[in-house]
Point group: C2
Chain length 425, copies 2
């Protein structure tokens, strides 16, 4: 599809949060032009879309999620992390099939589209089925393994790394482990050997709770980030999910190695895990991205809620209303997320970049008046303002409707059947 968007306010996120008025053209999966009004009469278009002054911006990157956990939304709430995992989540997950993962990922994808998410960093049980669900629906997905002592072996991760990377333009695969507390030292050493063989970055849940951090120090005399680094696991980059209980030394490591901290404020709030010191991260020069975490601990997949929480919780933690500027938050939710996920071509709106674009509807009361559009998006925005979600040049969601190829009601019915089956004795 070649599409001409005109009468747009464009937030390229290329270096600043300044808006320009103009046009954006897509040619197949790429952006062919971004700039002021330009004569387009020599071109033929599949569609010409009058943006009516609405904002075009890079889609949000959900830099940490477990999509297949949609089945367990509102199924087991109001429990702390460890109890929630061990008594409620793990027993159900043991019964989940590959087909369940496919169907439940599709439910999550519908929700991502409504909140303007154009790529996901997904760690869950059945990567092949997650990949297929994303390919079938058009979602860009960076899979990351959640290797641990209880799941598939290291060899499976290596095979997937080789097979899933390059299987489809929408899919890449990164190495990762679930967390320090679900891996023993031997396993992590073996992972490190693989990291060095492929010169690959590594991601893991990291310092999510006080207990996790304390127990790691007890076991190894080091915090989780320093322990991982001591094994060479960060020698080729990567980063951590959550990063709530970070010491100054942990932050220095992340800065020095160019690692990414992916913050998950909704989940950390709902599970009472704590507040990540995002303001301090920024002061130190750390790279921060944003994720929703899975829909069983959050419980929704809503980048607007996450963005407000990133800055809001920082303000509360620091007792400073100026903590973490909205411009920084928007950068985290777009550019930084793309870079954390290795998506160098899906970060900003510029000629030659991938057409992963959303339109924010300013013709809603919560976006008015137009004193400051970036602040409106971060402080007042909601899913309702997502007028269009385009991934890889394809419009998958527009004016509240999913692409014709998607049967939302059938997906809802399957999700209900799955949780009924999984939760039966």
């Amino acid at each position: 599809m070649n599409i001409r968007f005109y009468n747009a306010r464009i937030l390229t996120m290329d270096g600043s949060c300044d808006l320009m008025e103009g046009e954006l053209w897509t040619k197949e999966e790429r952006i062919a032009y971004v700039g002021p009004v330009k004569d387009s009469s020599a071109y033929t278009w599949d569609r010409e879309i009058d943006c009516k002054g609405n904002v075009l911006m890079p889609g949000f990157k959900n830099a940490h999620t477990h999509s297949g956990m949609t089945a367990m939304r509102s199924y087991a709430d109001d429990l702390p992390l460890q109890e929630w995992l061990h008594t409620k989540i793990f027993p159900l997950e043991a019964k989940m099939t590959g087909q369940d993962n496919y169907d439940l990922t599709q439910l999550a994808i519908l929700e991502y589209l409504t909140t303007g998410v154009t790529s996901i960093f997904d760690m869950y049980l059945a990567p092949e089925e997650i990949a297929q669900a994303c390919i079938d629906m058009g979602m860009r997905c960076v899979l990351v393994s959640g290797l641990n002592m209880f799941g598939p072996a290291l060899e499976v991760m290596e095979r997937r790394f080789n097979e899933l990377n390059g299987m489809h333009p929408l899919i890449t695969y990164m190495m990762g482990v679930h967390a320090e507390y679900t891996c023993d030292k031997q396993l992590l050493e073996n992972v490190s050997a693989l990291i060095h063989k492929y010169e690959a970055p590594l991601f893991a849940h990291m310092s999510e709770t006080r207990t996790e951090t304390d127990e790691c120090i007890e076991r190894y005399g080091m915090t989780p980030p320093l322990f991982f680094d001591s094994l060479g696991l960060f020698d080729f980059g990567g980063g951590g999910y959550h990063c709530v209980y970070f010491t100054e030394e942990d932050m220095d490591l992340f800065v020095n190695k160019g690692l990414y901290a992916v913050t998950n404020p909704g989940s950390n709030t709902k599970l009472a895990s704590g507040i990540a010191p995002i303001g301090r991260f920024l002061d130190k020069g750390m790279q921060v991205a944003i994720g929703t975490d899975g829909p069983s601990s959050n419980n929704c997949l809503d980048m607007f809620r996450e963005m407000f929480l990133v800055t809001g919780l920082a303000k509360l933690l620091q007792k400073d209303a100026s903590a973490v500027a909205p411009e920084e938050v928007l950068k985290m939710a777009t550019v930084n997320g793309a870079h954390a996920m290795g998506l160098k071509d899906a970060d900003v709106l510029a000629e030659g970049k991938l057409a992963d674009i959303i339109m924010i509807d300013l013709h809603h009361p919560n976006m008015q008046p137009l004193n400051n559009i970036v602040k409106n998006i971060v402080y007042s925005g909601s899913k309702q303002n997502v007028k269009m979600t385009m991934i890889n040049g394809q419009i998958l969601y527009e004016d509240g409707r999913f692409a014709d190829s998607m049967d939302a009601e059938a997906i809802y019915a399957k999700a209900n059947q799955i949780i009924e089956r999984l939760s039966a004795e």
Copy 2:
């Protein structure tokens, strides 16, 4: 209008959060029937609405707001309360006309409709114009005076109390003062005399920041609630907005006098004011309602964000993922709000009650699967899920469209013109 809603899941909020399947009938401004499927062939209907399994529930009560502050949304952010008020807000407010208040309240009303708010507890500059804006658009409004040393005199409050109460079925008026720190003792004593003359409840901003509380203790040797009570200001009920820095003694007072604490977590977060101890309030048996505060400090008017924050911030504060159950939150946002505002007939869905009803769309990905609908609403809900907002028997918002009588674009244009004029030198 006489409307028959059928195929509904009904959350009456009458004593519990249980849902029933059935029908709800409205006759003019009242609910004529709520219950299981019933033969309706003897009646004639203006409309029969197939709810398709969606939820009918009482509309949300926004129990603390300053609607007219929409002009200042994203105009002055990232400042602490006192600096924000004195350097940014008060100078602009000094220039606002009655017509500005009318137009800006209309913008807020549009936003309330999108988030399922069916009545507002509004403290702002021009009550007559606020009332007229609400009447013209069909919003139920409890006005509350924000009496202070710098605005209209006590006599104006008394006149408004007598004139605005009963002027229209949608409008009531309550006595209130802005806050302890904007009133001297003499003024508060005069207010107390009026409270006793009319046996009226009183509301005020209360213990919103540490500074406010400390300075009150310094001035009078008492916290704001105890100081107000010492003057007899709570002899006929009422309560406080914000209530962040409450002592055990303050809580005991609120319990013993049946006062309402209206919590405003979005605003308290964005202004870095602090976290109200809601879990403790509930343990003590206090009555808690929820408000958005004004759109300049929040910055959006979104009861879903507030509901998540009420329980989420409590979980963080108490380091307990089970703190403040979602059922309690939903009660705060509906029944308790109505009671705080004196709206005894707009609290639950039952025969004879006012038809202030919203429909929550479950046919959205964030509401699936249906493991627990109440938890879905509180933990995952968003404005997007508000399929319909009915006030006083009139459908004012449905499927993303405002009633034909409302010209949203004209209201947006006016808001932009107003802030341009107010912020000019």
